[in-house]
């Protein structure tokens, strides 16, 4: 006897209740728009703000990026290098949290507790002072030759922005990475500890060294497990990069403050900036979701 095919599952479609909910949300949006229009008496003017995204250069007659777009690029650079730096610090510290050496466990634990229990803003003010006024001079980084061919070339500008602003960019980057890496540390620790003890034992039993065991057995499995929370933390990093505008790193939020002040067009500026942040974060989440699916497929 052949088994019957299963009946088709009902298709997901919008019900009356869904429509009612959409209606409520739309009504709320319309109400807010009406309030802004009638009560605030706000004079919308997007053209001035858009002029700060890109403008036509008077001398050459070509389109060039203006403050907001330059800020966006700096934020993207911060996001890119910050993610890499925070991932490296978080991976090392996360491993230290789980390793046998007591001193390393104490150091990494202290790092995590210190950063998690201080407001990011306060942390950044303190560390900015140390990094840019103490550490950089000690390393000689504040006196790098801005005209040397190592710094003044197209690749450097693409990767790190204006050479003149490099130390400023670097101090912001290190602050941001140190701050976010504390949270990544805890994610990595949880990932390593979620791996079954039997995996360690099996690796030891076939004579793997500790390094090989971590590289071949533990980390690959842990990384797969922590991809979702890691993606979330990286997106948080991008959003938190706005905080370092307060130490005058010329990223999107810093320059947007200037644009809003210059034009007086507060709403337009910040709505535009919000859209830019949304685009970066959403794109990042999309890429990570793809990555996650690929990692999931390899397992099957």
């Amino acid at each position: 006897m052949t088994r019957r095919a299963p009946p088709p599952l009902p298709r997901r479609r919008l019900t009356v209740l869904d429509m009612a909910l959409f209606g409520l949300v739309a009504a709320a949006v319309v109400f807010v728009a009406w309030r802004v229009n009638s009560v605030l008496v706000y004079n919308w003017d997007w053209s001035r703000v858009l002029g700060f995204v890109a403008r036509v250069d008077d001398d050459t007659g070509q389109w060039v990026s203006n403050l907001l777009l330059q800020g966006l690029f700096t934020t993207i650079r911060l996001a890119f290098w910050g993610t890499i730096l925070a991932a490296i610090i978080g991976l090392v510290m996360g491993y230290w949290r789980t390793c046998d050496t007591l001193a390393l466990r104490i150091i990494s634990r202290a790092y995590v507790e210190l950063i998690r229990n201080i407001p990011p803003l306060v942390f950044i003010f303190i560390f900015y002072f140390f990094i840019s006024s103490q550490l950089f001079p000690a390393l000689g980084l504040d006196s790098i030759d801005r005209d040397s061919p190592w710094v003044d070339n197209v690749f450097f500008r693409f990767a790190f922005g204006e050479p003149a602003l490099f130390t400023n960019f670097l101090s912001g980057l290190i602050c941001l990475a140190l701050f976010e890496a504390a949270y990544i540390t805890e994610i990595v620790r949880a990932g390593i500890q979620s791996i079954d003890r039997g995996q360690w034992e099996a690796g030891r039993a076939i004579g793997l060294s500790r390094g090989n065991l971590l590289r071949d057995i533990i980390f690959p499995q842990a990384v797969r497990k922590i991809l979702p929370p890691l993606a979330g933390q990286f997106i948080t990093l991008i959003k938190d990069s706005a905080i370092i505008s307060l130490i005058s790193v010329q990223e999107l939020t810093f320059l947007a403050t200037e644009v809003a002040a210059t034009t007086g067009k507060t709403f337009e500026t910040w709505i535009l900036v919000a859209g830019m942040y949304f685009a970066i974060c959403y794109l990042f989440a999309f890429v990570f979701a793809r990555l996650e699916r690929r990692a999931g497929r390899a397992r099957r």
């Binding site: 079954d196 039997g198 995996q199 034992e201 099996a202 690796g203 030891r204 039993a205 076939i206 004579g207 793997l208 060294s209 090989n212 071949d216 057995i217 690959p220 499995q221 797969r224 390899a298 397992r299 099957r300």
Partner: protein, 247 residues
């Protein structure tokens, strides 16, 4: 002159905090010998064999493997572990690697074997445990019995001088057990030195040279299987066997 034993344990003691897990264990296992360890759960059987390759550290006594003393925290433990294969109750295969990669990892990393030689070796052992057609699958795709046979092949790939089995069939469905025991019996016929912690008394009768009965962290009785099963000398062994048969 009698050859020195492959494993020589004397005066071994181990505590978990103040709980005495192993007390004054003395055991010698000669090359080619097959020893079955049995006893009630919590009697220290697993702890004992896990001390041999230092998955557990002991506090007192000496363990020698092939003449070399095994100490907790010692350097170069990897060199001893490659001579001592181990099979676990829960298989412990690496789920993110294919069956073949599970097998080749040890030989490549520990023995420094090149990839193609390791693959050839691995395929030989997979054929030996009758599972060669599954080489490119991932462990979670296999049944429990198949996974345990892969785990045996993984241990054999290190070309060890002896094998430790820690309740290898306890986590298996009944219909899977025979296949795993078959592989183990084949290994015994080939002359492998084996220490097997198991409740499979039929296997013990067929394969063991000696049965070691443990209770409360001590070796209570050691005897050839016929003698142990038919005429146990101690009351504790009688009680244990009675419970096993009544079951």
């Amino acid at each position: 002159m009698t050859p020195s034993p492959l494993v020589e344990i004397s005066g071994l003691c181990k505590w978990y905090d103040d709980f005495s897990a192993l007390h004054d264990i003395n055991l010698r296992v000669a090359e080619g010998e097959k020893v079955v360890i049995c006893g009630p759960s919590g009697s220290g059987k697993s702890t004992l064999i896990r001390c041999i390759n230092q998955l557990e550290a002991h506090q007192l006594g000496t363990i020698r493997v092939a003449g070399q003393e095994v100490r907790p925290g010692m350097k170069g433990i990897e060199a001893i572990r490659r001579e001592v294969g181990m099979v676990f109750q829960g298989f412990n295969l690496f789920p993110h690697k294919t069956v073949l990669d599970n097998l080749t990892l040890g030989p490549i990393r520990n023995r420094g074997m090149d990839r193609s030689a390791a693959r050839k070796l691995a395929m030989d052992y997979l054929a030996k445990v009758r599972i060669a057609e599954q080489a490119d699958k991932y462990p979670p795709q296999l049944s429990g019995g198949q996974q345990q046979r892969v785990a045996i092949a993984r241990a054999l790939c290190m070309q060890p001088r002896m094998m430790l089995f820690d309740e290898p069939t306890s986590a298996l469905d009944p219909e899977m057990i025979a296949g795993v025991l078959d592989v183990m019996e084949g290994l015994a016929r080939d002359g492998m030195t084996m220490i097997v912690v198991t409740h499979e008394m039929g296997f013990a009768r067929r394969v063991a040279d000696r049965v070691v009965f443990m209770d409360e962290g001590e070796i209570v009785e050691t005897a050839p299987p016929e003698q142990f099963f038919n005429a146990p000398r101690t009351d504790r062994a009688k009680l244990f066997l009675g419970q096993l048969l009544a079951h």
